[in-house]
């Protein structure tokens, strides 16, 4: 594996580096836990890596909250997500997803943007963020910003909407509208740690004082080429009492979720297994 490395320290230098690379093959490197595997599997000649690890930029590196919600910089690691109190209290789904990534060692270096831009259907933090209706903050070489809902950002396995002249800068998660939440991440796999999801379900439900579901975000991972936001299943839940979701209603909800799944069979599990377990899991999240 042989490549050139540019390590910009400021945003200006970063944008310059990107600009200079427009005619070349280049990749960003953040925590490198995906990139190195990628390059090992598909060696590339004349590659430049723009190394983000030394970048000093608050928007890229920090977690900040404001009235509208939480901004998480692209370079924030899974370990940092886990330490954040706002995440712990308001977005348990993200906390659980970050906690399920690989192992403690990998979590120290794996970044949020790396997880997202890898665009793997089994990205754990990505799945939780889709359930949270997260929005991407993307800038281009001219320092112009565009925003895009994360669910739209994914365009296929390892495919995103990012243009060559763009970079993901941060992620925004809108604030909860209700105080009461039922939020969690179910990751199915063989091992307790060091496991890539065979399938996953991220759910983030917000209920009012009467336990009526006021907002619902449910995303499923590893059962389609991209992580899926299960729009109709989410809409189906709005206005219902949390305690009403059983029997026929539950069956109905479950089949709404399953509509978004087009699983494949691979070495780790068959499509039958993925479908069956997805159905089973949708039925236990209200327990």
């Amino acid at each position: 594996m042989d490549f050139d490395v540019i390590s910009p320290k400021t945003r200006e230098a970063l944008l310059e580096a990107m600009d200079a690379c427009q005619d070349k093959k280049y990749r960003f490197g953040a925590g490198y836990t995906d990139l190195i595997n990628d390059l090992n599997a598909n060696p590339q000649e004349d590659l430049t890596v723009i190394n983000l690890a030394q970048l000093q930029d608050d928007v890229f590196s920090n977690i900040t909250e404001d009235d509208s919600g939480l901004h998480i910089g692209a370079l924030v690691t899974a370990a940092q997500v886990l330490e954040n109190e706002y995440v712990q209290t308001h977005f348990p789904v993200l906390w659980e997803a970050a906690n399920s990534v690989a192992s403690m060692q990998i979590r120290q270096t794996a970044t949020l943007a790396g997880n997202i831009c890898q665009a793997s259907p089994s990205g754990d933090m990505s799945c939780a963020l889709v359930a949270l209706n997260a929005v991407c903050d993307i800038i281009n070489t001219r320092d112009e910003m565009r925003i895009e809902p994360l669910a739209n950002f994914f365009r296929g396995v390892k495919k995103t909407s990012l243009a060559k002249y763009e970079i993901l800068r941060s992620i925004f998660i809108p604030k909860n509208i209700q105080y009461n939440i039922k939020s969690g991440y179910v990751k199915i796999g063989t091992r307790v740690s060091m496991e890539i999801a065979i399938l996953s379900v991220a759910y983030h439900l917000q209920v009012d004082e009467k336990n009526i579901i006021a907002a619902a975000g449910i995303a499923i991972g590893a059962v389609a080429p991209t992580i899926k936001y299960t729009q109709t299943a989410c809409e189906f839940l709005i206005g219902r009492s949390l305690y009403e979701i059983k029997d026929v209603v539950l069956e109905n909800f479950s089949s709404q979720v399953l509509n978004y799944a087009t699983p494949i069979s691979d070495v780790r599990a068959s499509a039958w297994y993925r479908t069956t377990v997805l159905e089973n899991v949708t039925k236990i999240i209200f327990d």
Partner: protein, 766 residues
């Protein structure tokens, strides 16, 4: 036997522990010699094909390439247990590991590039991947060197074992229950964290070859390399760097090893071959996948009557030591519990799959899985407790089994009783949980050799002791350390017997030019055999020391105590270093001794009858699992293990063996499987191959049983393989208890469990 011991029985850290955890240990991968070249192997693209042509010209022309070899360039012998395996393949390739060419270059990158420049033209053939298909008349001959037709009546049979004792038909007639089942076990691999590696350095000056090799059997290896390369064995020096995991994988010599030597011979430079993880999965040995048709019976009281078993082993394309696993399995079928009659047939059949090798347990985990599952089925049919039926039939002290194994000590019954009590088995069994999570408990026992196994001409081990005039002891042992902790045991014996402090003891065990003969590390034999050899040498050095000390102290007769570097007799004390100084510089004599120990075991006869081991280890495990009916995942909650180890030598080391063995056993039971599509491995990584991690480990409650067997050092027995042998069986029984469905094939994957649960549900609805 029960004298007050100073260090034996007390937890002692491993001698190489500090090096290992600080990263200063030198593994084969760390070796870097001047002018060293990097070797790499071109393996076949297809598991079964004719080779039409090989063109290495472009690779040879690449700058930095020192040499490229194919079968045409070398004059070598066949390798393997049956000498049916060419080191480099020329006319045909027969499995997806097959080596076609090798390069040596100045860097790994150049070597890799050179491989990509070698052009091989294939004529792809349809392979045979199912041993039963291979046995059919219509199948092609899968290994041209095989002698199956002459020896066993089928051209694709690589090896065959038959054993029987007792009157099978009479025992069948008196059986109240007879249970027949087919068991299937999967192909799993050792997953050594240190991947395969070798460094070879050939001297054109004197024709000597030095190998830094991760072998478990250096002297057999030396002989195998010599045979492969048509060299004098003594021209070959084998040095063993610290080994990053053995577990049986390094019992056979594999093609990459003589290939590396050949590259060094051709170039006259040192050459190193290191596997990456993918190559490790692809090309290192595996456990034998087996199909076991087992019929067992019991009478109305639950006493076992007979076992009848027919086993087909997938031998793969070539024959390794793995083909001899039936030798161990027949002991289990004939002698685990009391068995009046046994009929055993095992055939290893050539296929186009990769060949297996030896793996901790050596066939015994597969055999035990089948027997212990069948026992539960018989108990169920008879309406007897699954614990009770085992106790009724347990092996006992003094028993001479149908095969002639003589259990001079036997902890089988105490081990069973211990795990039944400690796990609260009686309260937990048949709980009948109905919710999402369902708990179950399972029981299984095992029998394994504990005092070596007489299969090679000598099962012995040599020891040399050298005491220097500073009071330091060097133990030069024939035995090998591959992480199991036996060198620490030898040092502990020296502390115990000679009172020399631990930090004044060195163990030399890595150089065939220096160390005396030993057959190798396998069969749970090392602490037993090397420990006994050590004790023999200690006796001799004590004689030497007391002779000199008596002279120096002017006493006629004395029985010395050895403590803190000194010798004591009544009120008199003399320092050992002083005795040695006087011996060297006064009597002009070295303080060195040597001893060779050969265990009292005997060869089995042609019918495989005989007392093959110095003693026997027994163990039982009770395992509690929790099945998640949503996902099908089986979680192992607790393992209670009780094992007759004769005597505990190093508690912390023993606990390590238990936990490591059980981890492998759990993987074998639940998650590990090499998956092949038409002979090609499709999960050659830890991503796809589910080796468990420390996070998946249950609590292991270990209760050693001490039976003080007089054959073993301080009464001990071999303990290394045992902990994984009954694990899969106990887990299978526990899962059956939890969800009411029995599993006859491994691994019991989440998917299989979920399918079984779905089938049960369907049947209930009908």
């Amino acid at each position: 036997m029960n004298k007050n011991l100073k260090i034996i029985g007390k937890s002692t850290p491993k001698l190489d522990g500090k090096e290992r955890v600080t990263g200063s240990a030198v593994y084969g991968h760390d070796i870097d010699l001047p002018n060293m070249l990097h070797g790499m192997i071109l393996r076949t693209k297809y598991p079964c094909a004719n080779i039409i042509s090989i063109d290495t010209s472009a690779a040879k022309a690449l700058e930095g390439v020192a040499c490229v070899i194919t079968a045409a360039d070398v004059d070598v012998n066949m390798i393997g247990y049956k000498r049916d395996h060419p080191i480099l393949k020329s006319n045909t390739v027969n499995c997806n590991r097959d080596e076609i060419a090798a390069v040596a270059a100045t860097s790994k990158e150049i070597a890799r590039k050179a491989l990509s420049l070698i052009k091989v033209e294939y004529e792809v053939k349809q392979g045979v991947y199912d041993p039963f298909e291979a046995l059919l008349e219509a199948s092609p001959t899968l290994n041209e060197r095989g002698k199956g037709l002459e020896q066993f009546g089928n051209k694709n049979m690589a090896e065959s074992f038959h054993y029987e004792h007792g009157d099978l038909e009479a025992q069948k007639a008196r059986s109240k229950v007879i249970v027949t089942k087919r068991y299937e076990t999967s192909r799993v691999t050792h997953c050594c964290l240190g991947t395969s590696n070798i460094t070879a350095s050939y001297s054109k000056l004197d024709g000597s070859l030095t190998l830094w090799a991760s072998t478990q059997v250096p002297f057999l290896y030396q002989r195998d390399i010599a045979h492969a390369l048509k060299m004098d064995a003594s021209k070959i020096r084998v040095l063993q760097p610290i080994i990053g995991g053995g577990f049986g994988s390094k019992l056979d010599m594999h093609p990459f090893e003589p290939i590396c030597a050949l590259l060094s011979i051709q170039t006259g430079k040192p050459v190193q071959i290191l596997y990456d993880r993918e190559e490790e999965f692809l090309a290192s040995p595996t456990r034998q996948p087996m199909v076991i048709d087992l019929t067992t019976g019991a009478d109305a009281e639950g006493r076992f009557t007979f076992r009848e078993v027919k086993i087909v082993l997938d031998n793969g394309a070539y024959t390794s030591w793995g083909a001899t696993t039936p030798f161990v399995m027949m002991q289990t079928y004939s002698s685990l519990y009391q068995v009046p009659a046994c009929w055993f047939q095992a055939d290893a059949v050539y296929t186009n799959n990769p060949f297996a090798g030896s793996f901790r347990g050596y066939g015994n985990p597969q055999a035990t899985f089948s027997i212990e599952t069948n026992i539960d089925l018989m108990a169920k049919e008879l309406g007897i407790g699954k614990d009770e039926i085992r106790l009724i039939n347990a092996n006992y002290k003094g028993e001479i089994t149908g095969q002639g194994l003589h259990f001079k000590t036997c902890g089988a019954q105490p081990a069973l009783e211990k795990v039944i009590a400690e796990s609260a088995y009686k309260e937990k069994i048949n709980r009948g949980d109905t919710g999402r999570y369902r708990r179950g408990i399972g029981l299984a026992s095992m029998l394994h050799v504990g005092g070596g196994a007489k299969i090679y001409r000598s099962d012995g081990c040599g020891t040399r002791l050298k005491l220097d005039h500073y009071g330091y002891l060097t133990i030069i042992t024939g035995s090998n350390e591959i992480g199991q902790g036996s060198e620490t045991i030898l040092a502990m014996i020296a502390v115990e017997e000679l009172g020399i402090p631990m930090d004044k003891i060195k163990v030399i065990n890595t150089d065939t030019d220096v160390k005396p003969w030993d057959v190798g590390v396998h069969a749970s034999r090392t602490s037993f055999v090397a420990g006994n050899s050590m004790l023999g040498a200690v006796k001799l050095i004590k004689e030497k020391l007391s002779k000199e000390a008596m002279k120096l102290l002017s006493i006629d007769a004395a029985d010395f105590d050895y403590k803190d570097g000194s010798m004591f007799s009544s009120e008199k004390e003399i320092k050992i270093d002083k005795v040695v100084r006087e011996m060297h510089f006064g009597s002009n004599e070295l303080c060195q001794v040597e001893y060779f120990y050969e265990p009292p075991s005997s060869f089995q006869d042609k019918r495989f009858m005989g007392d093959v081991s110095g003693n026997y280890a027994f163990a039982s495990q009770a395992i509690e699992v929790e099945v998640d009916t949503v996902t099908g995942n089986v979680k192992v909650m607790d393992v209670w293990v009780s094992q007759d180890v004769g005597r505990v030598l190093n508690p912390v080391g023993l606990q390590g063996q238990m936990e490591g063995g059980i981890a492998t056993g759990i993987g074998f039971a639940l998650t590990e499987e090499m998956i092949y599509a038409e002979g090609k491995l499709i999960n050659p990584s830890f991503h796809g191959y589910k080796l468990l991690t420390s996070m998946d480990m249950p609590t292991v409650h270990f209760f050693p049983i001490e039976t003080y067997d007089e054959a073993g050092p301080y009464g001990s027995k071999g303990a290394g393989e045992a902990p994984l042998i009954p694990t899969a069986a106990a887990i299978a029984n526990a899962v059956a208890d939890a969800i009411g469905v029995e599993f006859f094939s491994l691994p019991i994957s989440a998917e299989k469990v979920l399918k079984a649960l779905a089938t049960v549900k369907e049947n209930q609805l009908v």
